[in-house]
């Protein structure tokens, strides 16, 4: 409703006045409740939880605004997350039946519902606020600072926490040159994978001859296991838009594009709304804040092609063509979209821009390591206790991230490796757990930062199978334009298939390495050039697993079918007969009350017995 009454800002001071007014406004109610509507929590029913809260509020005659939908809190493992203010009381795994109790006890009564608080698995201590939970304690949030705090559908929420102040400051007091130099001095590097210095990219684009110039946001987050950009677009869309406007001002662009992955409908919805609101407030479009600078943004949805995360492929897609990359010796900052100078950065990079201009380049450059400044958002997933989204300063060690924040490996299993950088990244083994995480260190270890996926793997993960999975993924997603990538990946996959089926031959590893070298040297784009990384890094660190498959015909992680056996434990078997009944090969025999036995000659290693056994008596050996 405030949107309707608000006038278009015609000067930077208008924005300030509006922010002050928002801050002076009394809160909608004595206590407010924030419900996370990120994809993880939504999938577990948080929308219903939110509805129940608004309903309950209405019933007691309170303002419905006391309940708020907010973006991802990051602690997806414990979703749906509900936070009650004041007091920052964090409730986790809130289900529909819990709403009434939270409403009665906390919102109306001001008492804490102990059973819904986070309980530390080790100490059994209950944490009242997020600050007391180890998962949040070690984090430093810049990009995610307001995620989970503001309603992404309300521009007022963003303005109230200081949103668009950086834009107002930039337009009112800085020249484009000053903005460029500030971003350069901050040391910000692209968060999308390459880690190219953002300020230098902006400058090249500004100085490139040709008009118009385009500014593009890459929201085509395709790495499986990575969802940080999605959470920013969903949870704080205005921060991305503000970053883009500032960038456009510095570069001298008047048209921007937001390219969002097709699988992220909620992000598209929130961004569309945010763009409409920003236009309405005079923060986007003609004559922004009355300063004479004009810039607008258009949203394009991707078509479901991983390769479109590559900048030239993305631009081809924006032109309405299949997303095939082109050779990079022609730089996109000079000849990009429609052959015009184009500057592309990813979501997280853009979202870093407003805080840098608000707080100064010195502040940003003081965080992180010598060559990697600021923080990085990671999606910590896989076999880790606390799955979720985290933001930590560059230089934190893998051990701190995986064990202190992530809580270690699920089920008390041994840690085997962590896969970083998406399909083009690599697997880092346990001996490097104390390596500081930054752009250069990860590259040195044969992996890369990528967009920030971190997939934790335990002793039960077969690294050859992991390499096969990523190679298969990349072969599927190869656009087919250049031969090394199209044909090379298929050949590498054939070899990996053979190895995981127990038909590996001596010389296979040499062959894989040879083809990997070819790919790196001859493929057209970054997808192809780095496609062998998963294979190369697993050969480098887990060679013994390859050898076990090829020479001993054995899968040490007992994952590759046919390379291990199923046996029934005499002690555990209760002779219930379920395995015998379900075995499709009639390989299980046994009478009543006598432990069953698998006939290894007949067994096809399908694993049905293991799935059906209620007593965990079927073992992989």
């Amino acid at each position: 409703m405030t949107v309707a009454t608000c006038k278009r800002f015609s000067a930077p001071a208008d924005l300030e006045r509006f922010r002050d007014e928002l801050r002076r406004r009394p809160p909608a109610a004595a206590r407010t409740v924030r419900v996370c509507i990120g994809t993880g929590c939504t999938a577990r029913g948080s929308h219903k939880v939110y509805e129940l809260f608004t309903q309950a509020l209405k019933e007691v005659g309170a303002k419905a605004e006391a309940a708020k939908c907010v973006g991802c809190h990051g602690f997806c493992e414990r979703g749906p997350i509900v936070v009650v203010q004041p007091g920052d009381i964090l409730y986790q795994r809130v289900e529909e039946p819990d709403v009434a109790e939270i409403f009665r006890e906390t919102i109306m009564g001001g008492r804490v519902v102990e059973r819904l608080l986070y309980e530390d698995p080790a100490t059994k201590a209950r944490a009242r606020t997020s600050a007391e939970i180890p998962f949040y304690k070690a984090q430093q949030r810049i990009v995610l600072a307001h995620n989970g705090e503001i309603d992404p559908k309300r521009i007022e929420d963003y303005v109230a926490v200081g949103g668009y102040a950086a834009l107002a400051k930039t337009l009112a007091t800085m020249t484009p040159e000053e903005v460029l130099s500030e971003v350069e001095k901050s040391g910000l590097r692209g968060r999308g994978g390459g880690g190219f210095p953002t300020g230098r990219k902006w400058r090249s684009c500004r100085e490139a001859p040709g008009e118009p110039k385009y500014v593009i946001c890459n929201g085509d987050e395709g790495d499986p296991g990575a969802f940080m950009d999605r959470s920013v677009m969903e949870g704080n869309p205005h921060s991305v838009i503000e970053g883009m406007i500032i960038g456009a001002y510095a570069i001298g662009s008047h048209q921007g594009y937001l390219y969002v992955r097709n699988e992220y409908p909620l992000a598209v919805e929130h961004l569309k709304l945010a763009i409409a609101q920003a236009r309405e407030f005079g923060l986007l479009g003609e004559d922004i804040l009355g300063t004479g600078f004009s810039f607008d943004i258009r949203i394009n949805r991707g078509g479901g092609a991983f390769v479109c995360g590559e900048s030239t492929a993305l631009m081809a897609s924006l032109e309405g063509r299949p997303g095939e990359p082109r050779a990079k010796y022609v730089h996109t900052v000079e000849h990009g979209l429609w052959d015009k100078p184009s500057n592309l950065n990813n979501v997280e990079t853009w979202a870093n821009v407003p805080p840098i201009l608000n707080n100064g380049s010195g502040w940003f450059a003081a965080i992180g390591t010598a060559k990697s400044k600021g923080t990085k958002v990671f999606s910590l997933v896989g076999e880790v206790v606390n799955t979720g989204l985290i933001e930590v300063p560059m230089g934190m060690t893998l051990r701190q991230i995986i064990f202190d924040i992530g809580g270690g490996v699920k089920g008390g299993k041994a840690f085997k490796g962590v896969q970083t950088g998406g399909p083009s990244g690599g697997c880092i083994p346990a001996q490097f757990l104390d390596a500081p995480v930054d752009f250069d260190e990860l590259t040195r270890l044969g992996s890369m930062m990528g967009s920030g996926g971190m997939i934790v793997m335990s002793e039960d993960t077969c690294m050859v199978n992991v390499a096969r999975y990523f190679t298969h993924f990349l072969m599927d997603e190869s656009c087919g334009k250049c031969t090394p990538c199209r044909e090379g990946l298929a050949q590498m996959l054939a070899i990996l298939d053979r190895i995981t089926h127990g038909e590996g031959q001596p010389g296979d590893i040499d062959q894989l390495q040879k083809m990997a070298g070819l790919l790196e040297g001859a493929a057209l784009c970054a997808l192809g050039k780095t496609a062998a990384n998963p294979v190369m890094s697993t050969i480098r660190y887990f060679r013994q697993e390859y050898d076990a498959h090829i020479i001993e015909k054995r899968c040490p992680a007992k994952q590759c079918r046919g390379l291990f056996r199923y046996e029934i434990s005499v002690e555990r078997c209760k002779a219930c007969g379920l395995c015998r009944k379900h075995c499709p090969a009639e390989a299980v025999s046994g009478a009543k009350k006598t432990p069953h036995v698998i006939d290894q000659q007949k067994c096809t290693r399908c694993g049905t017995c293991l799935e059906k056994c209620p007593f965990d008596a079927v073992l992989k050996v």
Binding site: G222, E263, G302, G303, G304, V381, G382, I455, Y469
Partner: protein, 163 residues
């Protein structure tokens, strides 16, 4: 019926700009459920580009389909984390049990099956989405139960589609 008006309206929505070809085709698919050859021809004519250009786009991007979809939409995440937690075997089972190809539709038209690379809900792995509803931590058994429980509408709807 209003195929012509639909194409015309979509083209106008984007000022006939060829750069917006993908959004136009997305809108067309949203409206009809798939990209019918007749409509693609009309769109190509209207934009004055060869039909092959539209075909190239339609076959390059995995979200486009050239055949009608089933009554239900089943999306299975086969991203890295889901893969580690067994999504590959679930995908194989669905294909065998329902005689459906990845990206295809079951012979009875019950559902279209689309394995996708990552829906970004890794905390819920393995994840299956049926008509927009997320199912977390699925197994072969639970998937079978969910899919067998899908209602199959009367075949009358089919006849209408063929007209």
């Amino acid at each position: 019926m209003a195929d012509e008006t639909l194409v015309e309206e979509i083209v106008r929505r984007y000022d006939g700009e060829i750069g917006m070809l993908i959004p136009m085709m997305q809108d067309l698919q949203t409206a009809c459920g798939y990209l019918a050859v007749d409509q693609l021809k009309r769109l190509a004519e209207r934009l004055e580009v060869p039909l092959s250009r539209l075909y190239a786009v339609a076959t390059f991007y995995s979200s486009f389909r050239l055949a009608p979809k089933g009554q239900h939409e089943v999306t299975l995440c086969v991203g890295t984390v889901c893969h580690l937690k067994g999504a590959g075997a679930i995908s194989e089972m669905i294909r065998e049990a329902f005689k459906v190809e990845a990206g295809g539709t079951t012979p009875d038209g019950l559902f279209s099956f689309q394995p996708v690379n990552c829906v970004g809900a890794c905390a819920l792995a393995p994840v299956m989405i049926v008509d927009g509803k997320y199912y977390d931590g699925v197994s072969k058994d639970s998937v079978l139960k969910i899919l067998h429980g899908l209602p199959l509408a009367e075949p009358a709807a089919k006849g209408e589609g063929n007209k």
